[in-house]
Amino acid sequence: MRKKNRWLFLFLTPYAIGACVFIITPLFYSFYLSFTSRSLFGGGSIVGLGNYQYIFGDSIFRKSLVNTAYYAVLVVPGEIAVALLIAMLLHRNTFRGAKFFRAVIFMPFVLSLISIGLVWSWLFSPGFGFISQAADLLNIDFPSVLTDARYAMLGVAAATLWRNVGYYTTIFIAGLQSVPDELYDAAKVDGASRFQKFTHVTFPMMSSMIFFCLVVATIWAWQVFDLTYTMTKGGPARSTLSTGLLIYNTAFIDNQVGRASAQSWVLLIIILLLTGIYFLGQNKWVYYENE
């Protein structure tokens, strides 16, 4: 047993060192910084809860939270639903080229978010972009998505969806392929319709994977930074100012690392609360095979 433990520690050590250096230490250090007035260039003093008091009274921080929540609402259900639909179309090779599309759909996920942001800003560019020119050809009055405060977040969400759907699709395809055929055969014997097969066999068997994707998608959505930074810089009129981008601006443009750390901790707590709610609610709909 002792020998076994030694091996366990040996294998865990590299990760533990990495986690301590790159996650746990910065995490606690940022917690300490959140109580200081530290600037990007050093200096500052302990300000107690001053940063937290400031950000809770700051309308820009509240606006960023609302924007991020709106983005999450647009992106999370959209990604899961579209990915599930595509996975169901592709997993049984129901048409020629299904294997090819399985590879293609994953490709955007490999691209860097910065490149995706730039490409999509060009696509949406009024007068020059592909979408704008195609709309002109079809005589459709298409809005200038990224420079109009009403549509800008939709544009960022569209780019996110395009990028992430492949990732979730791949997970769902793997999940669908692991559902035993006997369950469908049994359902067929019982006279289940296609929809009933989905609701009573596919969905329960896939629920743990959907749950995983839901948690990951929510965390990623609340962390959104790259696309809002590249596509809109948080504009127009702060309509796409996500909390991640505001934290970046506070730390690296306004040079207030202490305040940015407090903003990060508030965001972390929101993400943990949401994740906690998901975990509390999973008993009602998530099925684990070994339970």
Binding site: P26, L27, L33, G43, I60, P126, T147, V215, I253, L267
Partner: protein, 462 residues
């Protein structure tokens, strides 16, 4: 249950990484480092490791039989990435190294968006660049931290007269001591598309044109059916300060402690620029602009402001263009700012870093900058000399410099809250003015809000 606990732990780690990001700085930034060293024996300029560079340097020093007291070693000079700046910095480094064979100057070129992030990380780690460019907004924050070398005595010892340069003491001095030397002078003027002027039968701007002339010409150049606009007006620098100055006002009190957005002069300037968008339609509203493209380069904008360092990029335009002075109201002229240089107080080679920064401020290095034709040198005698305004310079380049000679330039009001007040896309001013230009807010309401929010930010400094 074990699975659930594992999943919860993984989720917490993922979420925790976000909070960690602010504490340990950004990532994924780009940095290009080029050493100004001559070609090696293989005739290549392959990047070298620090070890290789040190070995080569030692060998060179020995070979040259270096005299005692001669400067030697390696220093890094950091600049914002820009075609012209990269070229200028490289040439300046080569010039210096020719005179000091034992010295290697590495040019660190970092995109502006990441520049101060990396500087902050370097300072925190105690390994900041030896010499680096610094603007007024960052000096306002960094100047008081004690991490910049005090250059006051050295300026006196070397007999340097700062009056020969353009640099605002507010962007270079703290409590009577000087920490920043002048490097670049960034002035503004108006670019105009000659092809659009010709097509509309409009006369090119005259040196003494007025706001009325500007508006009239913009009207002639505007053609909604072709998506063409007479002018493009930025919601912030350099347009905001320039138009307010032309109207005879200022955005801040002289001591930069009070916001004065609600004065009649500021209101007049904002009304004039807003109406060009909302009332006349001569300038595009925010939703009519392409994202991530310079509006003037689209060949659909008749006139737009520019800083002198932006001119080299415009030379790639496939249409004919020229440079005009700002139009006149009560005053004529526009906003400027300077880019200074500082030495990191923790540099391991203080003597060399000091010598290099004074070299960069000297006439020889400033001439190199003048020849490139981008940013103007901050040494006024060079900025006004033949090298900067030679025959190859674009038509009207002299207007960038004339503002100074004729005392018609107004300094961008840099404070440590400059980005939050007007500099960044999500700043108070840019946000409110975009809402005004899209018709979602009245100018009067916006002025009240801007003044209150900006003053609140300014009060944080005091």
């Amino acid at each position: 249950m074990k699975k659930r606990i594992t999943a919860l732990f993984l989720a917490m780690v993922l979420a925790g990484a976000m909070a960690a990001a602010a504490g340990c700085g950004g990532s994924g930034t780009q940095e290009q480092t080029t050493s100004g060293q001559k070609e090696d024996a293989r005739g290549t300029n392959a990047p070298q490791t620090e070890g290789q560079q040190a070995e080569q340097q030692t060998a060179e020093q020995q070979a040259a039989g270096q005299e005692e007291g001669e400067l030697s070693g390696t220093i890094r000079f950091a600049i914002y990435t820009d075609t012209a700046r990269d070229l200028v910095a490289q040439k300046q480094a080569e010039l210096y190294m020719e005179k000091h064979p034992g010295v290697t100057v590495e040019i660190v070129s970092v995109p502006f968006a990441n520049y101060y992030t990396q500087l902050g990380q370097g300072l925190a780690a105690g390994s900041a660049w030896d010499v680096f460019m610094i603007n007024g907004a960052s000096f306002a924050e960094l100047g008081k931290t004690g991490q910049l070398m005090d250059l006051t005595d050295e300026i006196a010892a070397r007999g340097m007269d700062l009056n020969d340069y353009v640099i605002d003491p507010m962007n270079s001095s703290y409590e009577g001591r000087t920490y920043v030397l002048p490097y670049e002078l960034n002035t503004s003027a108006i670019l105009y598309n000659k092809d659009m002027f010709d097509a509309a039968g409009a006369e090119y701007p005259s040196p003494d044109w007025t706001w009325e002339d500007f508006r009239e010409i913009a009207g002639k150049l505007t053609d909604p059916s072709r998506g063409e606009f007479g002018c493009y007006l930025r919601t912030a620098q350099p347009d905001l300060v320039s138009f307010v100055y032309q109207a005879g006002g200022a955005l801040y009190s002289d001591d930069l402690k009070t916001i004065t957005f609600s004065t009649p002069e500021v209101k007049k300037a904002l009304t004039y620029t807003t109406e060009l968008v909302t009332k006349y339609g001569y300038a595009p509203s925010p939703e009519q602009l392409p994202a991530n493209i310079s509006p003037f380069m689209t060949n659909k904008i008749g006139m737009a402001s520019a800083m002198c360092f932006e001119v080299l990029a415009v030379e790639a335009a496939e249409f004919n263009w020229g440079i005009a002075p700002w139009p006149k109201d009560v005053n004529q002229g526009g906003s400027y700012w300077t880019q200074g240089m500082a030495v990191y107080d923790g540099t391991k080679n203080k003597e060399l870093a000091l010598d290099y920064i004074f070299f960069l401020a000297g006439e020889e290095a400033q001439n190199v900058m003048a020849e490139a034709g981008g940013a103007a040198p901050s040494l006024l005698s060079v900025a006004c000399g033949d090298k900067y305004l030679d025959a190859d310079a674009p038509d009207g380049m002299e207007y960038f410099v004339n503002e100074f000679i004729e005392g018609r330039a107004v300094a961008e009001p840099f404070t440590s809250k400059w980005s939050a007040i007007s500099g960044a896309a999500t700043s108070v001013v840019q946000t409110e003015l975009s809402l005004v230009r899209t018709g979602d807010e009245t100018l009067d309401d916006a002025i009240v809000k801007m003044e209150a929010d900006a003053q609140k930010l300014l009060d944080e400094i005091q």
